[in-house]
Amino acid sequence: MNTDMSHQVAAIEVQGLYAAYQRQTVLENIHLTFPAGKWTAIVGPNGAGKSTLFHVLTGSMKALRGSISAFGEPIVKLRRAGQIAYMAQREAIEWDFPVSVWDTVMGGRYGHMRDDVLWRRLLPARWHHVRHTEAVEKALIAVDMLAHAERPIGALSGGQKKRVLLARALAQQASILLLDEPLAGVDPPSEKLILAVLRREREAGKTVIMVTHDMPGARRYVDHVVLINRFVRGTGTPEDMLSETKLAELAVSSIEQTTTDRQTVPAASFSPEQG
């Protein structure tokens, strides 16, 4: 389907994916290739299944059918190796949680800490391996939040919260970055900073995949666009995919959708897959 990308290595390959909440199908027959070392934008109307796709990629939701591989291996392997970083939407985080900015960003290192020797893993943060503290510091500097490291996360502004979530993903030093609306509701300086950080990551060879509603930003920065609304509605270059006609088609497809009764995820859920 996307012949221009077929000669490149796939960072993530999704084949025949179906996903549903309760009995409401959200994603159907998804075949996608996310090229390695590229910056991909996933675009689609609200409720199109973009976040659901990320839930399946991060493993917090089980697919009904289909397979996902990353660099040719089952994606679970890459997750266990700490190679998949995920930046949640701001609404998905409990900001009252009693942790500091530093602790939150350190959370991105927890996967790699499994490789540390046992005695380090049993000791408090002070004895963490220096590579973890360095990664956290570097990430905080990249998003310009080092001065706020000791503050509780609840005391931050909207843009700062986003930057902390990005820093947590950066601290992981993963090869694939999954970002769910990294630019939603941020102030212009934060937006500029986040886009600059992501461009640097891509230039460093990382695969960046983000859900976005920011069309001007996407047109300007990304290499590859995926249009999604329950089905894949198109993949290709930003020029082709983000043209007015294409976006109008996508909007029409979403009007067809609204006739179906969409069920939302319960806020307080007690099953482990949904937290």
């Binding site: 309760q22 679970v76 009252d96 009693p98 959370g107 927890y110 319960p266 099953s271 897959e273």
Partner: protein
């Protein structure tokens, strides 16, 4: 095999008497009007049991409060009853039966929630009352009503040596588990999706946490009983949440509140000759009210004062 069991038993016996001796040196520093009550062996057993239960309930309550599991804690504590009854029937250890029915109930809640249009609060209310009712029916058939009352409301002054040992072992397991799995538990409580993306098995963490909750509830049976244990799984954590923005400090405050309410409540129950479980929970609630009023950041009084100063 038998030899090693004996060794473990005598070793933990020695540990328990050591702990009691350590506690008593502290108690004996208090004025004799307080310490006199603790000169009897049954009071010393009650004291150690209360301290242990206060500590592990306080520890777990941080996770319960932050994960919004208060209602689930209530559900599990009720669901434990038939397990205890069946274990009693079959001569199993209480904990095994309690865990089986506790886990079955939480699985049932999840299944109803996922597969039907029934919401989670109704699913929980439905499952835990049914389970509790089953427990009441079984116990009414096989034991005296005083036994049922002790399970429901606790009887810390009548704690036997074997029950103290169970609480002791359960506390050690709970503390070790929280220590060894500190980071996965923290990440799971804060952001389960991130935990999943990092390749942690959240299913195992989820049921591990439920297992820890069940263990704590069973360990608290004799002290506060299954009706009131949920108070000890919420109040210390909620109090600590009002007082700090650091998770480790929250753990520390919560454990302190748990231990202090257990000890003060025990003492008050002896002095005023009232039910110990109720006294312990009321003292914990007193701590919560204090935090609610006087907490530096969240406290109502300082908030009022700040508002007035600004206006």
């Amino acid at each position: 095999m038998v030899d090693s069991m004996l060794i473990i038993e005598s070793f933990s016996d020695a540990l328990v008497s050591g702990l009691i001796a350590a506690l008593m040196t502290v108690v004996n520093l208090l004025p004799s009007s307080v310490s006199d009550a603790f000169q009897y062996a049954f009071m010393q057993r009650a004291l150690l049991t209360s301290v242990l239960v206060g500590a592990i309930c306080g520890m777990l309550s941080c996770y319960v409060v932050l994960k919004r599991w208060s209602l689930l804690g209530d559900a599990i504590s009720h669901a434990v009853l038939p397990g205890v009854a069946i274990a009693y029937l079959l001569g199993w250890p209480f904990f095994v039966g309690a865990f089986i029915t506790g886990a079955l109930t939480s699985v049932g809640i999840g299944a109803i929630e996922r597969n039907t249009r029934i919401k989670s609060d109704a699913a929980m209310g439905l499952m835990f009352t049914a389970s509790f009712a089953l427990g009441v029916v079984i116990i009414s058939k096989l034991a005296s009503s005083t036994h049922l009352m002790h399970i429901l409301f606790g009887n810390v002054l009548g704690v036997k040596h074997s029950a103290l040992m169970l609480t002791f072992v359960a506390s050690i397991i709970a503390i070790l588990a929280v220590w060894l799995a500190y980071r996965p538990l923290l990440l799971y409580a804060f952001d389960p999706q991130q935990a999943q993306a990092l390749g942690f098995n959240t299913q195992i963490i989820h049921y591990g946490l439920i297992l820890l909750l069940t263990l704590t509830i069973v360990a608290s049976l004799e002290t506060v009983g299954i009706i009131l244990v949920v108070a000890m799984l919420i109040t210390p954590g909620a109090t600590a949440h009002l007082l700090t923005d650091r998770f480790k400090v929250m753990l520390f405050i919560s454990v302190s509140v748990g231990v202090c309410s257990a000890v003060i409540g025990l003492w008050l129950s002896v002095v005023f000759n009232v039910a110990s479980g109720g006294a312990i929970v009321l003292v914990a609630f007193g701590f919560f009210i204090m935090a609610l009023l006087f907490s530096p950041r969240q406290g109502l009084i300082l908030q009022q004062w700040r508002r007035r100063k600004m206006g």
